[in-house]
């Protein structure tokens, strides 16, 4: 069959054309992308919650563990 001849001959074309058209394989890393997105969202939520000022403190700077350098709290 003539079509089969074209299909077979096409199989032997230059490697550069075969490599250029190689389909992009994304599936394998799909789950990593979702896990990374979820982790980033979780960090934003947790970080945001920790940074919100309340009646008892004024966010991170008011907490002893985070008060460093020129912002260090006076003890007593």
């Amino acid at each position: 069959m003539k079509e089969t001849k074209i299909l077979a001959a096409l199989g032997q074309v230059d490697d550069a054309y075969i490599a250029e058209a190689a389909p992009v394989q994304r599936k394998r890393w799909g789950w990593i992308k979702w896990v990374a997105t979820a982790a980033c969202l979780a960090l934003i939520v947790v970080g945001g919650a920790a940074g919100v000022p309340s009646r008892n403190n004024r966010g991170f700077a008011a907490h002893a563990n985070f008060a460093v350098g020129p912002f260090k709290r006076r003890q007593g």
Binding site: K2, T4, K5, I6, L7, A8, A9, L10, G11, Q12, V13, D14, D15, Y17, I18, A19, E20, A21, A22, P23, V24, Q25, R28
Partner: protein
């Protein structure tokens, strides 16, 4: 491990060669076979046959690119398998078997003539591909080398299906023109 290191393993007849090849190019070759055969089991067999062929052909071969070298083997094997199964459905398998047996009777001159025709056709296809814009060439190759669906090609390129179909139609027209101009008869 890069291609040349894997090829060195083949040349050294190290068994790791097949395992490393399967790890790096298993999915690539499986995708090629699956596009043609649409059967997971047949595709796996085809890929395993590819490793065997690679083992048998290196040495003496020392390909510059391992991906396309393996891809070509897989594509050939998958197309042969597909052809046999299509022929089997048409003629209960016996016609195909009989034709294959009769191929042994072909005179050597005719086999050489067929090979020369095939080489001339491949050379014309190379010229045709070189004349295409990059995107058109990718679409053409994805369709007729990788045997991908129009839908899959459109999705990967972020284009709609009608654009892909139109591009292929024009490319086929151009190929027909080139083959006629070069006097290549099929």
């Amino acid at each position: 491990m890069d291609d040349q290191q894997i090829i060195s393993l083949f040349w050294a007849r190290a068994e790791d060669a097949v395992a490393e090849t399967a790890r790096q190019y298993g999915r690539y070759c499986h995708a090629i076979a699956y596009n043609i055969l649409r059967s997971r089991e047949d595709s796996e067999e085809c890929v395993n046959d590819t490793w065997l062929r690679a083992w048998e052909s290196m040495p003496p071969h020392h390909p510059e690119r391992l991906d396309t070298f393996l891809g070509k083997i897989t594509r050939n094997l998958a197309l042969n398998r597909w052809e046999k199964s299509a022929a089997g459905k048409r003629g209960g398998g016996q016609v195909e078997v009989a034709l294959e047996e009769l191929q042994d009777c072909l005179p050597t001159a005719e086999i050489i003539e067929q090979a020369v025709d095939s080489m001339a056709l491949t050379a014309a296809l190379n010229r045709f591909l070189a004349s295409l814009p990059s995107e058109t060439r990718r679409i053409f190759m994805q369709r007729y080398w990788y045997l991908r669906s129009i839908k899959a090609i459109a999705a990967e390129l972020g284009a709609n299906e009608s654009k892909v179909k139109m591009t292929l139609l024009r490319a086929r027209g151009k190929l027909k023109q080139i083959l006629e101009e070069e006097g290549i008869s099929l």
